[in-house]
Structure formats: structure tokens, C-alpha cells
Symmetry: C2
Subunit: 268 residues, 2 copies
Amino acid sequence: MARLAILAGTGRLPVELALECPEALRVGFEGVETALDGPVERHRFEELGALFDTLKAQGVTEVVLAGAMSRPPLDPARFDAYMQATAPRLMQAMQAGDDGLLRFVISLFEEQGLAVRGAHEVAPALAAGEGLLTGPQPEERALADADRAAVILSALAPHDVGQGAVVAGGLCLGIETLQGTDAMLRFVAETPQALRRGGGGVLVKRPKPGQDLRADMPAIGPDTIARATEAGLSGVVLEAGRVLILDREATLKAAEGAGLFLLGRSFG
Amino acid sequence: MARLAILAGTGRLPVELALECPEALRVGFEGVETALDGPVERHRFEELGALFDTLKAQGVTEVVLAGAMSRPPLDPARFDAYMQATAPRLMQAMQAGDDGLLRFVISLFEEQGLAVRGAHEVAPALAAGEGLLTGPQPEERALADADRAAVILSALAPHDVGQGAVVAGGLCLGIETLQGTDAMLRFVAETPQALRRGGGGVLVKRPKPGQDLRADMPAIGPDTIARATEAGLSGVVLEAGRVLILDREATLKAAEGAGLFLLGRSFG
């Protein structure tokens, strides 16, 4: 039988995953804060060999990387034998940027026979479902805006940009770049009213097609709804099954309170 | 022989065009402020028929729309016979947004046998030339960033988005939307340092392929350089011949003073 380990980074995701998967082994890392409580196994990135030994001893067969892990400074003097042997490949991977490093780390787990899963696979309840999740039924115009935003995101996908876009009345007001969804929504909120064609507008959030959801899973939470409200949007559209809703109760309540629709949709 | 009329909107472009084309007839519009001085023919949008008569009487064969023209409220009671006859088509065009309206206005001039030119056609000296215009020789890394920004803009072009993008160290930090280049550069300037991969970065500015440069010509000026400097960029790349440099002396001086390169390039 499969046994799961949650490798906990910062933020709410590891906490919510642990609630969904109470049998999972909980692993934290020195230098990475986590809100996960209960019996957490603490490990060091410098001693991945020891981590693999622990996971196997505990009968773990699959792992999920949950929450952000900043890149802590590694102390080579503390490397275990496994890490010493891995160092040359690791150095190469570090030069490929955060995404490249994360892909490499995933491959290290796989080499050990451990399956790496996405949060949406081990806890599907955390992802957006299909259909209207809360708020008023979206108007035709809002659905047309959502379609246009989705088309823009698809065009960008091969270029590794764009997990989100805002379109209002047919006009593109924001495309998510490195700074993330909240920063984009703050930017949209500052749009001079004279430039906007009436009110409303829709945020579409989805992974890039081909994005490895085991390494980087898009998510929204109550803050996203607050920013969307400040940006004058009428709703938020999430790709069903592929975007997480963190703190779901508070998120849905915030959307409902603000009169925003929250819609799960499948994209082609 | 061709005779040009400059139809003056706001901003510096009509002034610089008049300097480059001293023989041109200067036309201003009620309700549209213009910095253009000298003998300016004043007309009303409600009396385009009268404008056409004037242009023909003066031997004008081509016109250039220069600077922004906000959409002033039209008073139908003042419509001349031409405008009365044109009103139904005009109403339709107004519903197609600013771009659609501008394309329609261009077609009205063409119907009268007047050629509508872009500023870069009647005054090529105002457009960015090819090669290094000022500042230090760009590094390989900056040229790679410029290539990536250009690829992102090309992907967006069919969707009528994106006259500019910022890439730094391979990371996309900004994509221009409705709010314009300066707003995007302010957004980039606010990027937390921790998200950036070292310093530098490049702004690429180009028209969308297929964009009608007679209606909407991208331009930079000293303010663009100031914003690019605040955003920590190492340079600005303009599509040669297709982006205007307004207030050229001040713009080049600002770039040189800030140590930014300004480069004109052809894009495929």
C-alpha cells in the first residue's frame, strides 16, 4: 500500500494537506519555516541520503512537495555521502534557475524509487471543482472576458510565462509575470478609470500547459479575493482540478461577501 | 507634388513633426489641446466636411495623425452635411472601441483621396535607427534578454496585446497591457529584489506585427528612460524604424547619463 510523506515548505498548503492525508509522514527542513505541527521529522538538505533512509525505513513510497521552499545556503561541510556524490549534478542544476533545480530535486526522489505527486493528486478536494463555486452566475460578458484571458495565456504558455491574466470588457489589463497574481491584481487596481471600458473584469488563473504541478501548483486564497475585489473584478475563473483553493471556507466566504463569482472551468 | 497636413493632437509629436516638415499645413481641433504653434488651422470634428474642403483648397494630398486625440463629446446639432451623412457609419464605428474608431476615421480620409501616412513615413528621422544609439555596448546576457522579450511579444501579437516587455536574466518581469509602458516599468521597479536574478534587464518596445502605425505609433521619451532606470534595467531595445524617439536629444542624454544602452534592432 502507498504511504505518503509531506515535505513541508512555508504557507498553508502543508497544513491543509496534512488534514486531508492524516496518515502521511510529515517532514520539515532546517532553515525552512513551516506551520505544520504534530510529529514532524526534521531533516537537512545537506543530508538527503539520511532523508531517503528515513523515508524507506518508514515504508514511504510517494512524496509531495508542499509550499514554498526558499533556497537555503547549503553547507558542503555537512554533506552526507549521498550529497557529496550528487554535488556535481546539483551544481549544474542550480544554474538552471529555480524551476530547473526543482525538476532536478524531483528526479533525485524518483531515482530512489519514490513517486513524486502533486497536491491535487493526493488531495483532490483542495483543487477547484468544475462549475460555479460561489457568488452570482457570471454574465455573458464576463465569460467572454474569461475566454479572451484564456487565449492570451495559451499563447504565452510555450514561453514559460503567465499563470494568470485579467481581461475587462475585452481589454487586457494585466498579465501575470514573476511577481505573482497578487502583484498583478494590485497593478490592475491602479488602472486609471478613464482607460477602463465600464466596470467588471475577470481574473483567469491556470497552470501553464505542460507545467509540472508537482513542483509548482497555482493556488488562490482569501487574499486573492481581496485583491480581485480591489481591482474591481466581477469574478475569478480557475482551471478545474489544476488550481488549489487554500483556506477554502474563508476564500468562498470572501468571494460571496464581495459579490464575486468563483468559477471552475476546464480549458482545452 | 505631395503636400502634407499635420492633424495635431496632444503631446510633443505634432511639434516635432512640424519641425521636420516645415511646409506642412497645421490643423488643430476644438477640444483637443495642442502644443503646436504657428499658423494652425482650427477645425471641429463636427465639421469634417469643412476640413476636407480646406485640405483640398490648400492642395493637401496626404495627412498624418499626430499625438493623442481624446474622444471629445460630439454635438450633433453642429454636424455639417458631410457628418450628417456619415453619422450612421460613425455610430457603428464608435462601438468598435478606440482602435476601430481610428481605423474608420482613417478610411474617411482615404475616401476623400487623401493618403494617411505614419509619422515614421513623413519624418523617418524621428524613428529609432538601427544599431547602438547611445550608452555602453550591450552584454550578451542583455541581448539574450531582448531576444526573449521579443519572442514573448511575438506570441502575443495575434491577440492584440503587448507593445513592450521586460526580461531580466531570462525572467519575464513585465508585459505591457492597456496601461502603457511607463505603468509597466513602475510595476517592474517594485519587484522585490529577492525575486530578481541579479541586476539588469532589458525593455523591448515594438509595435504589434500588423499594428497600423498611422493610427498608433509606439514612442519613447526622456520619461521612459527615467522609468527604465528606476526599474534597474541595463538597456532599452526599440524596433528600428517603427518606434519614435520623442525629444531625442534629451532622451539620448538621459540614457547616456544613466548608463543605459539604447539600441535599435530589426525583428523578424
